[in-house]
Amino acid sequence: MENNIALKANHIVKHFYQPEPFEVLRDLSFEVKKGEFVSLIGKSGSGKSTLLYILSTMDTDYDGELYINNEKLTGQTRNQLAAFRNGHIGFVFQFHYLLPEFNVLDNIMLPALKLKKKSREEIEEKAYQNLKLLGLEEQALKLASKLSGGQQQRVAIARALINDPSIIMGDEPTGNLDSKNTQIVFDIFKELAREQGQTIITVTHDEDFAKNSDRVIEMSDGKIL
């Protein structure tokens, strides 16, 4: 396999059994290059979110094979996959999903504290760097629940970046934001892909957002168009 491939999906098939048997993803195969900024678009029910959760390794109930950084992830245990996500994948969700009872800094540091690759001081320094990158250094010690939606989403991005993941995945990361904050998030993603070579895969409904990314994968009825 070539070295500049970040993610490779091989004949992914996924079924839903509730409320009735239904093939959501029909034999999907594609590759994503390192440093690529990919948007997954499609109508509701087209299977784009389902695909994202399979790519993110959280959903293991599928047929086919998934490789990230040339490592085969299909068939690994949930705890192995959790450890893999911890080191290699950063997440940004539509509803930011911070831990509301922790302050911003703690939220950002948690994945790194779990990874245990660096000392607490190094992690804290890195967290402050990330906050600065996202223009939030003033908010570091506030409770996550006290921030505005746009700020929370930026904190979530800072958290996704803490372990320098090779891939950042977003599930409608701008779905809940106004156009100004959407632009900020988009610019951050773009910069990360350009300058740090991080691969970005996001599901989005926002056509402008998708149009400006490097590559658009459009889905319909479980197939890539």
Partner: protein, 414 residues
């Protein structure tokens, strides 16, 4: 460091929902304090019962059980095949009481667990004061040893126990007996033995053990005077009362002594099985009630933990998405249960102790007790703590396991 991270999350969970934490804590506190109180109370009651019982009862009693059935001596010589016809057999009693008591006393006193031996000469007599007659028991005792075993001086309501030592003509009688015979201190009482000896004694003291059957029929006499009454030698005794350092540990002593002493060696348990049964039943009740309370507390914790987990289900999902393993999630929630268990346990022990002390001071004046009995036994406290911890661990583990099995995809997709 990850251990620290998990504990930090657990700490934040506990401190951010203070009310819930307090409710869970109260459950454990209540359960453990009740466990401590119930057990302290029951063992206090058992101890009081035992103390009352042992005012007249020795741990081991050695006595002459009466002659065996020797009405057919022919068989013992010629074997059972020989037909013997014996009419109206009479038992000629060879021994009465315990002969050679000095050697038995020295044998028994060599046993390591024995802390006291009281020889007695018990005589079945009629107490008479002019018209009134009472069938009773005149007990010739070694004054010092009797006191050591039964602490009888404490039950004297008139006169002094030690006076018996110096007044060979004096008796100390039970309060019931004094009442029946209209006797008071310094009055004379006439005693008639079954062999027809009669003697006048002076009442020099009155005791009250609150055991009616004892108070009504018993009188104490110096053992020397009792031997004189029966015209027996200085070695003669009828009963040997033996106390051990632990009254529960009679069986080994009995099994050691019984084969080498030619008399009946009987433990208090065999003689008074109802006491033993009563104590055991009370222990079972205390255990059942307190374990039930602990179990209810456990369900409380279980409910609260379940609620917490339902509330935090999205956070659990996000932790898992970020790479926390199932084990980490279990640790986070189990740690909360353990903290609730330990903190609730310690507070519960303190509350249990305070509650026990308060109840201990409630007046209760029946049968020689003046307040409710209570025992302060470290073992009860340790057990309460251990049971409390086990309950919280089980009650916390089930929801924690449920949390660890949460599939983040289900939650995050909404």
């Amino acid at each position: 460091m990850i251990i620290g991270t998990n504990y930090k999350i657990a700490y934040v969970h506990l401190t951010s929902k203070v009310k819930q934490t307090i409710v869970a804590l109260l459950g454990v506190v209540f359960g453990i304090s009740m466990y401590v109180f119930m057990n302290s109370f029951m063992s206090g009651v058992n101890d009081t019962q035992t103390t009352l019982a042992f005012t007249t009862l020795a741990h081991v009693h050695i006595y002459n059980d009466g002659p065996a059935d020797r009405t057919n001596l022919v068989n013992s010589v010629y074997g059972p095949g020989v037909v013997a016809n014996i009419r109206d057999p009479k038992v000629i009693q060879y021994t009465e009481g315990i002969k050679n008591s000095a050697s038995i006393v020295s044998l028994v006193s060599k046993q390591p667990e024995v802390i006291g031996i009281a020889p007695q000469v018990n005589i079945s007599v009629f107490f008479r004061n002019s018209g009134s007659k009472v069938n009773g028991n005149l007990s010739g005792v070694d004054v010092a040893e009797q006191e050591k075993l039964f602490g009888i001086a404490e039950y004297m309501i008139k006169g002094k126990w030690n006076d018996l030592l110096y007044q060979p003509n004096g008796v100390i009688i039970g309060s019931g007996l004094a009442h029946t015979l209209s006797l008071n201190i310094d009055d004379n009482v006439n005693v008639l033995t079954s062999d027809g000896f009669t003697h006048n004694y002076k009442v020099i003291g009155i005791f009250q053990t609150n055991i009616v059957n004892v108070d009504k029929i018993t009188a104490y006499l110096n053992i020397t005077a009792a031997r004189q009454l029966l015209s027996k030698n200085q070695d003669y005794i009828t009963d040997l009362q033996v106390n051990l350092n632990n009254f529960e540990k009679t069986p080994p002593l009995v099994s050691r002594l019984a084969p080498v002493i030619p008399y009946k060696v009987e433990s208090w348990q065999t003689a008074n099985q109802q006491l033993e049964a009563g104590s055991s039943l009370r222990d079972i009740i205390a255990m059942a009630v307190s374990l039930t309370i602990l179990m209810v507390a456990g369900f409380g914790i279980y409910n609260i933990m379940n609620m917490t987990i339902n509330e935090k289900i999205r956070e659990i999902a996000i932790l898992k998405a970020m790479g926390f393993s199932s084990g980490d999630v279990t640790t986070i929630f189990l740690a909360q249960a353990v903290v609730i268990g330990i903190v609730g346990g310690i507070i519960g022990l303190i509350f249990g102790f305070i509650f026990a002390t308060i109840v201990n001071h409630i007046p209760f004046r029946i049968g020689g007790i003046d307040h409710l009995p209570m025992d302060y036994n470290v073992g009860d406290y340790v057990l309460a703590f251990i049971f409390g911890l086990i309950t919280t661990l089980v009650a916390g583990y089930l929801p924690a396991r449920k949390a660890s099995k949460i599939d983040p995809v289900d939650i995050l997709r909404g």
